[in-house]
């Protein structure tokens, strides 16, 4: 009467389906993580060459210096990633970085309480800058490129006002802790980056506004039709960008133990952050990618200069080399054109 076979069959089918869906899932995860993985691989290879050629070898000092230099750009690149995911752009990240550096050089001083309040003020300023950007983009309905271009000028003016000449005194112990190594030779900045990814980025990405940011970047109209909180997602993207840029500014204050309203520095960090985001596998059209890839992208960009140094190449060649590497690494992405079936797909 009751045939046991169908249920068995269906169970076997379910298992098979489970396995194939698992494989599909794995393949999907791998293909969506291809950018960060390529950047990570590139970084590991480059860093291995760098350490191998370095006169001091694999010492805690070398690792620490590399981590500190990379972490600055990595943080600014993380900041840039989130607006880019919403298919926006934040051209003011570099200036927020400089502004918070200047504020840090004034406030992060004194005892534990003073330093703590100073750090809070610096991070708060970053949030404020981000909120202004977000408000202009969401409430003001301005194009992100031009709105953040203008606010960048405002932030730079504030930085100049805070620190007309380079200088400043900051809490030595705090600065040394932030730029030093933990016992075992692990750089504090690496731990800081890991902590931000685990406690900041990953929870954000799986939260409603984080997923909404991806949805907005991939198709704003579809996101709107599905009731995704578009305005909140965009606003928080810029707020978080300001926050991450402020952490970078704080770290710069610790590294240099001073502040400087340096427009060239701010501009170059803004542009390098875009490059790092792209090298890390995030699409400038929005919707795909992530901050982890940007961290590796930033480390790749920073290691290029170090490689030239250990190979004793003339530093004059560094900008040219950097440009060629950048173009080649984004040019590799064009190989996908060979697989395109209809030329219509080329056009947006």
């Amino acid at each position: 009467m009751i045939d046991p076979l169908p249920s068995l069959r269906s169970r076997a089918g379910g298992l098979r389906r489970g396995w194939s869906s698992f494989r599909r899932d794995l393949r999907h995860r791998l293909s969506s993580a291809r950018g960060p993985l390529v950047a990570l691989g590139l970084y590991v290879i480059m860093f291995a060459i760098f350490v191998g050629e370095h006169p001091a070898g694999f010492s805690s000092n070398v690792v620490n210096t590399a981590a500190n230099k990379g972490a600055l750009l990595a943080l600014v690149a993380m900041a840039q990633t989130i607006p880019v995911l919403t298919s926006g752009l934040d051209l003011s990240v570099g200036m927020v970085f400089v502004l918070t550096n200047c504020l840090g050089s004034r406030l992060v001083a004194g005892g534990i309480l003073g330093t703590g309040l100073g750090v809070a003020a610096v991070l708060g300023l970053g949030l404020l800058c981000g909120a202004l950007n977000g408000a202009l983009v969401v409430r003001g309905r301005l194009q992100p490129i031009i709105a953040t271009l203008a606010t960048g000028s405002i932030y730079y003016g504030c930085a100049l006002w805070l620190r007309p000449a380079p200088g400043g005194v900051i809490n030595d112990d705090f600065a040394e802790f932030m730029t030093g190594s933990l016992p075992g030779g692990i750089p504090v900045t690496a731990v800081l980056l890991l902590g931000i990814v685990l406690l900041g980025w990953l929870p954000y990405r799986s939260s409603v506004i984080g997923r909404a940011a991806y949805a907005v970047g991939s198709s704003e109209q579809a996101a709107f039709m599905s009731g995704v909180p578009i305005a909140r997602a965009k606003f928080f993207a810029y707020v978080l960008a300001g926050f991450f840029a402020a952490i970078a500014g704080l770290l710069l204050t610790c590294l240099t133990e001073s502040g400087e309203a340096n427009a060239v520095l701010g501009g170059s960090y803004t542009l390098s952050s875009i490059a790092a985001v792209v090298v890390g596998g995030t699409s400038l059209f929005g919707g795909t990618g992530g901050a982890v890839g940007s961290i590796f992208g930033a480390f790749v960009l920073r290691t290029i200069g170090d490689l030239l140094f250990v190979f004793n190449l003339d530093p004059l060649w560094q900008p040219l080399f950097l440009g060629v590497v950048l173009l080649v690494s984004v040019g590799v992405g064009s190989l996908r054109l060979l697989r395109i079936k209809s030329r219509l797909e080329l056009f947006r």
Partner: protein
Amino acid sequence: MATTFLKRLDRPVLAAGGAIVLLLVAGGLYSSSFVSPAYLLQQLQVAAFLGVVATGLMLVILLGHIDLSVPWVITMGGMMSVAAGGWTRPFSWLAIPFAVLCGLGMGLFNGFGVAYLRIPSMIFTLGVNAIAQGLMIVHTSGFAPQDHATATMQLLAVGRSIFGIPNAVWVWAAVGVLTVVLLNRTAFGRRVYAIGNNERAVFLSRANCNLVVVGCFAAAGALSGLAGALLAGYSTKAYQAMGDPYLLPAIAAVVLGGTNILGGRGRYLGTVIGVVVITLLQSMLSIVQMPEAGRQVTYGLVIVGMLLTYGRGDRNGG
């Protein structure tokens, strides 16, 4: 007659024009020298350099792209023109064409990457900027070139040969007239707008999209090179990073003039007015001796304020 004329002036043009009047009135109240013909002609001369750069950038922005290689292509134009002036001593008039040619080359490369390799212009032109910078730093060993600008370059940049109007303004006017004709009277120009609106549709109508994109980037590069040669003539020398202060003001000028940063919409008259607004603003802020900090903040606030009054997107997003 008057109404058709007013209709042709769209809101951004009127608003930016109003901003110029406001700036001049405020300046005139501060000091009468702000409204003297000598000062205004001087400002037009300075505006001409930005105007030439903004013209090229506008072509690219109309496509929905952006050209971030402007700073170092300008510097390349300046350095190559003074260098060519030195090499080709008897034919030193070749200096300017050589600078334009170098800029054209970089622009063609930009266009190739964006159109044929389909790399987003923002990142490709950023890389090209780094390459132009690298080439120039290798060429000069990191120092300012010793060569001086040729007589022709100086004449073109600072001379006032006809009616006392600076020659640089004539150059800008020539570039402007050519651009207006190109945009409004040729199939190429109409395709520029069409691509900015919907590139797929242009492709499906069997127009050669890639050629138009390459053409616009090439023009932008050539104009940046020309601006570099003019700037070198203006300061009699080329120097490192001489183009850096031109990228962001040029973008701001194009957008303040009502060109949509996403492409497809914008008129050249708007860009002209945007350039004049930016130049006047910068000049007045530096003359009233406000500290640099206040100047930067005011500059940013004015741009945000102007955009909020007329540069806002549609309410329905998308």
